[in-house]
């Protein structure tokens, strides 16, 4: 789950990044509108948190740029502007949600989950396949009713595969979901995580195909 935060305030930006990383997301941070637009064009995000008062290119402009490219990535505006006409303008420009600063962190996280859920056309944050359940909100994995402890990286890989159940996900796409643009990518991280998951949840859960990547097949 890779998210983009477009926020020019360094304190709020780094705080948000830390909070979202703790919630299990991979986070990119853009401190001005220009960088935000460039990042949105270069990368597909699961969700974008957008401040309106961005330098260089305003938040609304960046939002219109995204929507003009028929990009349906969920966008939550996080701003100090609280007048009704400003909310209307933001939502009409293509935002999916509007949060006024200062916000409550738990509420923001719930809104982020809701938007991602809706984007993936799911009804709950609990995904399951072949006796394995993943709760995206509580960040827990259960196998045949028993809680299984997994590492952060293993959880991210499992969640990414669960979301796209029945589809092959390339190694590069999994890496994109795992690393933000500041981290060094280690070459065998994905293999290590898949190995760990197979060990804990059963060898048959995750299938591999050379050139295609990994998949959790749909239950027959």
């Amino acid at each position: 789950m890779r998210l983009l935060i477009a926020e020019d305030d360094p304190m709020l930006g780094s705080g948000l990044r830390r909070a979202l990383q703790r919630a299990g997301y991979t986070v990119d941070l853009a401190t001005n509108g220009e960088d935000a637009v460039a990042a949105m064009r270069a990368q597909t995000y699961a969700l974008i948190l957008l401040d309106l008062g961005l330098p260089k290119v305003g938040g609304l402009e960046a939002l219109r740029d995204v929507r003009s490219r028929r990009d349906r990535t969920p966008v939550i505006i996080v701003t100090a502007r609280d007048r009704p006409e400003q909310k209307v303008e933001g939502l009409d420009a293509g935002a999916d949600d509007y949060v006024v600063k200062p916000f409550d962190l738990d509420e923001l996280l719930a809104r982020i989950r809701a938007q991602i859920r809706r984007g993936e056309q799911r009804t709950s944050d609990a995904l399951s396949a072949r006796g394995v359940s993943v709760d995206l909100a509580a960040r827990t994995v259960t196998s045949n009713g028993g809680l299984v402890s997994v590492t952060a990286k293993e959880f991210k890989v499992l969640a990414a595969l669960m979301r796209r159940q029945g589809q092959f996900v390339s190694k590069e796409a999994l890496e994109g979901a795992l690393y933000d643009d500041t981290a060094e990518v280690e070459s065998n991280t994905i293999e290590t995580a898949v190995y760990g998951l197979r060990r804990k949840l059963g060898a048959g859960l995750i299938l591999t195909a050379r050139g295609l990547g990994y998949t959790i097949p749909k239950e027959a």
Partner: protein, 474 residues
């Protein structure tokens, strides 16, 4: 356009009515007087002409009597004194002139015939023509006619007051309708004036209905052409109010952003700390939280400073000294400079008196702080004071990234932060400088460094002590 106020600010309608009324009265009076004097002149002419005719008739009558007299051939003709000289008809004709006419006929110096009326006249006047004779109770106008061939003098007289009676009759006939005309015209003038002012009253009502939400301009064609300058002025006023309201709203939006963002960071960090188990992490995050609170407090201070500056109507305080305040600001900022490893240099001999000390301090402190925040580590921020041509100059030079030419006007705007703005900047420092300098009647200029090196050279020019600050803009 003269700015002279109306002499009397009372009612416009009453003032207009007063002026038009007085003008009307003067016109009525002048017309009445002209009519009166013209009538008098004509009456005099006609009555004089009648007297001439009367005298000639009398002479003709007399001549008849003389030529028919018994002594026609011997010596000068003699007129007899008795009344038989006039036929009863003639006599009656004279009687009908009543009290106010007279006549006398002399032969030589002997009175031959005369009416009972009129003043006593000693002898025939020497000169022909008109003259005035004052009697005991009345005043007479006479006409004298000599008949030299027969040594006869004819005099016709008329009491002047009879003419006066006639003239008075005419004047009365004139005055009555005029007197009736005055109140009628007054009512009409009042009605038409208040009708004319109705448009003005409508305009007042229209303006009374307006609120701050509706500042759309008034339509020019909806009002009489005479009111167009007024309507245009009102529209310009609306425009200015609208613009200043928009500015206020933008200020509030910006202020909301500037205050809520650090508060959001504070809240977020507090929530993160609450969920953090690692004590070392908690400590680091608490330090960040304190930093955020400081920043929010600093932002609040600056916002209040700027708001107070903008609300200031004039600069009352005097007696500041630019050098004193600059040195004090440098002392305050020395710890910040030391933390950021920036050298401070100052040059400014002598005293630079004049201006509000609080404003001078704000200017110096914000310029220097801005320079320190943008200066790279190990570089120098130099502050210089100079005086020339009745103006004091404060120059602050840093070796920071500078400000592109196109941005230099905008950085003085509230909350504007250029692309090279320091991450900790509030976007208010230079606005505060600009506002304080404006209040002191000076100007700010942002330039390239004179030595061509990278950085910014900020120059503030202030008038010397005693110079009158520029009037406040609205």
């Amino acid at each position: 356009m003269s700015r002279r106020p109306l002499a009397r600010p009372g009612s416009l309608l009453a003032a207009l009515f007063g002026r038009v009324g007085v003008l009307f009265l003067v016109i009525v009076l002048v017309v009445g007087l002209i009519a009166f004097f013209t009538a008098q002149k004509r009456i005099n002419e006609i009555y004089d002409a009648q007297m001439i005719v009367g005298a000639n008739v009398l002479r003709a009558l007399i001549s008849e009597e003389l030529s028919e007299g018994p002594n026609a051939e011997a010596g000068p003709p003699q007129l007899s004194i008795d009344d038989s000289i006039l036929s009863p008809e003639d006599r009656e004709a004279f009687d009908s002139y009543a009290e106010w006419r007279m006549f006398r006929i002399w032969q030589g110096r002997r009175l031959v015939l005369g009416s009972d009326t009129g003043p006593a006249i000693a002898g025939p006047p020497v000169e022909d023509g008109f003259s005035e004779v004052a009697a005991k109770d009345d005043h007479w106008r006479t006409y004298t006619l000599h008949v030299p061939a027969k040594g006869v003098t004819v005099l016709i007289g008329e009491r002047t007051d009879i003419r006066l009676v006639l003239v008075q009759g005419i004047a009365l006939g004139l005055a009555l309708p005029l007197l009736l005309l005055i109140p009628t015209a007054g009512v009409l003038i009042w009605l038409s004036l208040s009708d004319g002012l109705q448009a003005l009253r409508n305009l007042v009502a229209e303006l009374g209905r307006r609120t701050l939400r509706d500042l759309s301009p008034l339509r020019l064609d909806a009002w009489p052409r005479d009111l167009n300058p007024l309507v245009r002025s009102i529209n310009r006023l609306f425009e200015r109010i609208d613009r200043s309201l928009m500015n206020e709203r933008r200020f509030l939006d910006d202020a909301a952003h500037q205050l809520r963002t650090p508060l959001a960071a504070v809240k977020l960090q507090a929530q993160l700390i609450a969920g953090e188990a690692d004590p070392a992490e908690r400590q680091a995050m608490t330090a960040q939280l304190i930093d955020s609170v400081d920043r929010a407090a600093d932002m609040t201070d600056r916002l209040l400073t700027l708001a107070r500056l903008e609300a200031r109507r004039g600069v009352a305080e005097e007696g500041g000294d630019l050098r004193e305040e600059t040195v004090a600001a440098l002392a305050d900022l020395a710890p910040l400079a030391a933390r950021r490893e920036v050298e401070l240099a100052f040059e400014g001999p002598g005293a630079f008196p004049g201006g509000d000390p609080v404003l001078l301090r704000l200017i110096a402190a914000n310029l220097v702080e801005n320079a320190i925040n943008h200066a790279p580590e190990g570089s120098e921020v130099s502050v210089r004071l100079s005086a020339a041509g009745g103006r004091r100059q404060l120059t602050v030079v840093d070796a920071g990234p500078g400000i592109p030419r196109a941005e230099r006007e905008r950085v003085l705007e509230r909350f504007y932060r250029g692309p090279g703005a320091a991450p900790r900047g509030s976007g208010l420092g230079l606005s505060i400088v600009g506002e304080a300098v404006r209040l002191l009647g000076g100007r700010v200029e942002l330039r390239d460094r004179a030595d061509g090196a990278q950085g910014l050279c900020a120059v503030v020019e202030l008038p010397d002590a005693g110079a009158v600050p520029a009037p406040l803009q609205t």
